[in-house]
């Protein structure tokens, strides 16, 4: 082994240890803590716990199915067909991603809840005495999940389709395969990594989802709400066991999905051109497609519009009317006039920026080591550690982090970070690792090593080659991963609620406490601002 190789292995070992300390260690500590016979017995004895765990699993599976059923056809539609307004509609359709988690759920309540617009309108239209439906239970949760999560399938599938090599499809046709066989035997296998990635993301998001079951669940319990109920009732040991049970489900799912993911070598080989979009020729069909597209986009944007409308309603003026009787900017004025309401916005911005920068730096280090300079056996632990935070619901990870850093034991690598401003951004970094890590690793996979070798043979040092060749080539991946991470940290609620302090209280906590004291309009105004910032950042991130 040369000195340089030794250096690389040392660097890889350091990175692996850092990741293990950040990602794995807190969870292991919680697991050890949960190994109390009593609490485990109590968990096993109560039928309610098993029902909640099962509900979490099937709700997550159903969310994946629904999100795939909406997102995949849309992606094919927008990637393969050409019709008027395709580009604009194509980006509008991704907008559910910018609806902040908690206020988004409240917007749904005002829109589709039993005294929301849609229900009131249907009630008036049909002259019913009672509201036509109630937004509650598993159906309501699935509606919210499908709405907010199909975007992952849509974006991932579109990205996969854009990289598809037309020559492969032509080859299949030339060999006599019909459109269905081509789709089944060629297109879908080529899309497999994208689909598996989206399925993983949706499953984990649904498993960790808290706001929707909390607001719409009623008597229907899932594990995330069960953990909160146990904590509220003072049964801390039970809450820990529940936490570990949920984490175990997530880790099993991660292992299963990663197994079906396959390798992304197929992508790297594709050097052809993506298939050309088919023009819809008949004017009637074109018009119909465009109209259907706009109608669909309008339905998708209804929650955003509701949020905007609610943010314009002065307090207490909207009761039994279908539409609010008066609107004004008073909520925005209140928000901007009081400096202690503005602080959370600034806090969220700096924490999101700092944590995104750190997550990108770690991802770059991992990418450079794993994809370029290391033997394969290092690849698996580092990549697994980077993907693992996806498998840990936000509440679980936050509780683990708070417990780990509440004692001063430097020898066990534990310091008191609870109550300091750094713990929350640290949690954001770890939560964002899968987003930046995946983007950067995939980015490295698509760069031809020959380019870097060419730079080296032209006399560029390693640093110069990295700065002048690799980084510019990685820029789209960095922008995409970074903007997603930034938006996720900006809107985060489940991690923040456990770890915030006065000095770093983020915007989602301010929204929550506005809701707590009945200032729904102010909460919505915060939500609108969050939405605009998120949309702007994602827009910048999507620019190639």
């Amino acid at each position: 082994m040369t000195a340089r190789e030794r250096g690389r292995v040392l660097a890889a070992a350091a990175l692996t240890l850092l990741l293990a300390w950040l990602v794995l260690y807190p969870i292991l500590l919680v697991g050890v803590d949960a190994a109390h016979g009593d609490a485990i017995a109590a968990f096993a004895r109560r039928p309610g716990e098993w029902q909640a765990l099962w509900a979490s699993v099937w709700i997550s599976l159903a969310s994946v199915a629904l999100a795939a059923a909406i997102g995949i056809p849309l992606a094919f539609l927008f990637e393969w067909l050409e019709f008027p307004g395709r580009k604009t509609l194509g980006s509008l359709i991704a907008l559910p991603a910018v609806l902040p988690p908690f206020v988004g759920v409240i917007a749904f309540l005002f829109l589709y809840g039993e005294s929301g617009f849609v229900a009131r309108a249907v009630q008036q239209l049909l002259g019913l005495a009672e509201p036509p439906w109630r937004l509650q239970g598993a159906g309501a949760i699935l509606l919210v999940h499908a709405y907010s999560m199909y975007v992952y399938f849509y974006l991932f599938t579109r990205a996969g389709l854009a990289k598809l090599d037309a020559s492969m499809l032509e080859a299949a046709q030339a060999l006599g395969a019909g459109p269905w066989v081509t789709l089944r035997r060629v297109t879908l296998p080529l899309l497999r990594p994208s689909l598996a990635g989206a399925a993983l993301l949706v499953f984990m998001t649904a498993l960790g989802s808290f706001s929707a079951p909390y607001v719409f669940g009623g008597g229907f319990r899932v594990m995330t709400t069960q953990i909160v109920a146990s904590k509220l009732n003072g049964e801390l040991a039970l809450a820990t066991v529940e936490t570990v049970a949920l984490a175990l489900v997530a880790i099993v799912a991660l292992a299963l999905i990663r197994r079906t993911e396959g390798s992304d070598v197929l992508f790297a080989l594709g050097k052809g051109i993506a298939p050309r979009r088919r023009q819809l020729r008949r004017p009637a069909v074109r018009g119909l497609a465009a109209a259907a597209g706009w109608l669909f986009a309008f339905v998708l944007l209804l929650p955003h519009l509701t949020l905007l409308l609610v943010s314009l309603v002065p307090y207490g003026t909207w009761t039994t009317e279908t539409l609010p009787p008066q609107v004004s900017l008073v909520n925005y004025q209140r928000l901007l006039a009081e400096p202690d309401r503005l602080a959370p916005l600034l806090n969220s911005l700096w924490m999101a920026a700092a944590s995104t920068a750190a997550a990108i730096a770690i991802a770059l280090a991992a990418g450079a080591l794993v994809r370029r300079r290391l033997p394969w056996r290092w690849r698996s632990p580092i990549e697994t550690l980077i993907a693992l935070p996806w498998a840990l619901p936000g509440t679980v990870f936050a509780i683990a982090l708070a417990a780990t850093f509440a004692v001063h034991e430097p020898l066990a690598l534990r310091w008191v970070l609870v109550g300091t401003v750094v713990l929350l951004p640290l949690a954001y970094v770890v939560r964002n690792l899968p987003l930046t890590g995946r983007a950067v690793l995939a980015g490295f996979g698509q760069i031809d090593p020959a380019l870097e070798e060419a730079a080296a043979s032209l006399g560029a040092g390693r640093w110069t080659a990295f700065r002048r060749v690799t980084l510019p080539l990685l820029k789209p991946a960095l922008m995409a991963g970074g903007s997603l991470a930034f938006v996720a940290a900006l809107g985060d609620f489940v991690t923040s609620i456990v770890l915030y302090t006065y000095d770093n209280r983020p915007i989602s906590i301010e929204i929550m406490s506005s809701l707590r004291v009945n200032e729904i309009g102010v909460a919505a105004a915060f939500g609108v601002i969050l939405m605009l910032v998120s949309a702007a950042v994602l827009g910048v991130g999507a620019r190639r």
Partner: protein, 345 residues
């Protein structure tokens, strides 16, 4: 990377802005009292103590308890202001509170004084029956707890999720203890709650949503705490309320200095001030809190408070029993009563 440098610059600016702190002593308060009361108290207390910078975080009382527990190694809060004395009692058992006896301690009823001077009641919060004023006349609203079980309210009752609410825990506790007094067993109380569950349309996750749903007439009657209803009426929400005839639980709303508080002197000064006659009257006049002090002359209280004192009948609740057994009862209710009432009937 060119595209990112403005973001970085902005982040640094924001960071710089966030770090700049004035030279005053910060006083961190965890409280469920809400923006109205807290920003009012922030202004008043800072006028009296210009060297103190009051910083409050608004959260549910159960959440305060949770945070104090997880921040034990590095306490962030100096004062815990607000929440039922039963939760304070649990925190005192967990050694999360510092002993401090303010000068007004003697003016508080014995059951509002925590053991070892760990906490003291400052307000009294009665639970009331609430109805949608646009839909019901006052005389048509339920007048007592048992009226809530009348057939005409079937599917019209909304209840705040009782697991997460100190007010609802107190009401549930009162019902169960009432049954125990009559029959010697908790079964009677749970049977009553089962019948209420059959009437209940929905368990609502927080107070504001509950208020909204009543005003929007998704349900017509509920049970909630009086200060919240009075504040909402001031702000124009059409909510009516009734004091239950047979008596209502009156929750002792307490205050305490957090153990290991980093700004102990300021914390003690704040607690001392909140219980002063001045601050008690400010809270009563401006944000509808009923003073816990017994030595405030009735004629200096606002009209609403005199009215409430006259009409309200406190129910006889054994708070120690509730503090000890409440968790068990709530779990039993959650597993065996919630959502089962209609089946049992």
């Amino acid at each position: 990377m060119r595209g990112r440098s403005p973001t970085f610059g902005a982040a640094l600016l924001v960071l710089a802005a966030a770090c700049g702190s004035p030279g005053r002593t910060p006083l961190v308060i965890y409280s469920p009292h809400g923006r109205d009361l807290l920003s009012l108290f922030e202004r008043r207390f800072e006028q009296l103590h210009p060297d103190v910078d009051v910083r409050w975080l608004d959260m549910g009382s159960q959440e305060v308890y949770d945070r104090l527990r997880s921040e034990r190694a590095n306490p962030q809060a100096d004062v815990w202001f607000g929440g039922p004395a039963t939760i304070f009692a649990r925190a005192a058992q967990d050694s999360l509170l510092e002993a401090f006896r303010p000068s007004w301690a003697g003016a508080i009823d014995a059951h509002g004084r925590g053991p070892g001077d760990r906490y003291f009641a400052v307000y009294e919060t009665p639970a009331v029956i609430v109805y949608a004023e646009q839909a019901l006349r006052p005389e048509d609203a339920p007048q007592d707890w048992d009226d809530l079980l009348a057939p005409r309210w079937r599917g019209k009752v909304l209840i705040r999720d009782p697991l997460a609410s100190g007010t609802m825990r107190a009401v549930w506790g009162m019902i169960i203890e009432r049954g125990m007094k009559q029959t010697g067993d908790t079964a009677a109380g749970f049977q009553w709650l089962r019948r209420l569950d059959a009437q209940t349309k929905e368990y609502v996750l927080n107070g504001p949503l509950l208020d909204q749903k009543i005003v929007r007439q998704e349900g017509l009657v509920t049970v909630w705490d009086l200060p919240d209803i009075l504040l909402n009426r001031r702000d124009g929400l059409q909510l009516g309320y009734v004091f239950p005839k047979s008596g209502t639980p009156v929750i002792e709303d307490a205050i305490a200095v957090v153990r290991g508080a980093r700004h102990g002197a300021a914390a003690r000064a704040f607690v001392e001030w909140v219980g002063s006659v001045d601050a008690q009257l400010v809270a009563a006049r401006e944000v509808y809190r009923l003073p816990a002090r017994r030595d405030i002359p009735a004629d200096s209280l606002p009209a609403w408070a005199r009215e409430v004192r006259r009409r309200m009948r406190p129910a006889d609740v054994d708070w120690d029993l509730l503090a000890g057994q409440g968790g068990e009862w709530m779990r039993y209710w959650d597993e065996h009563v919630r959502g089962r009432g209609a089946v049992a009937r």
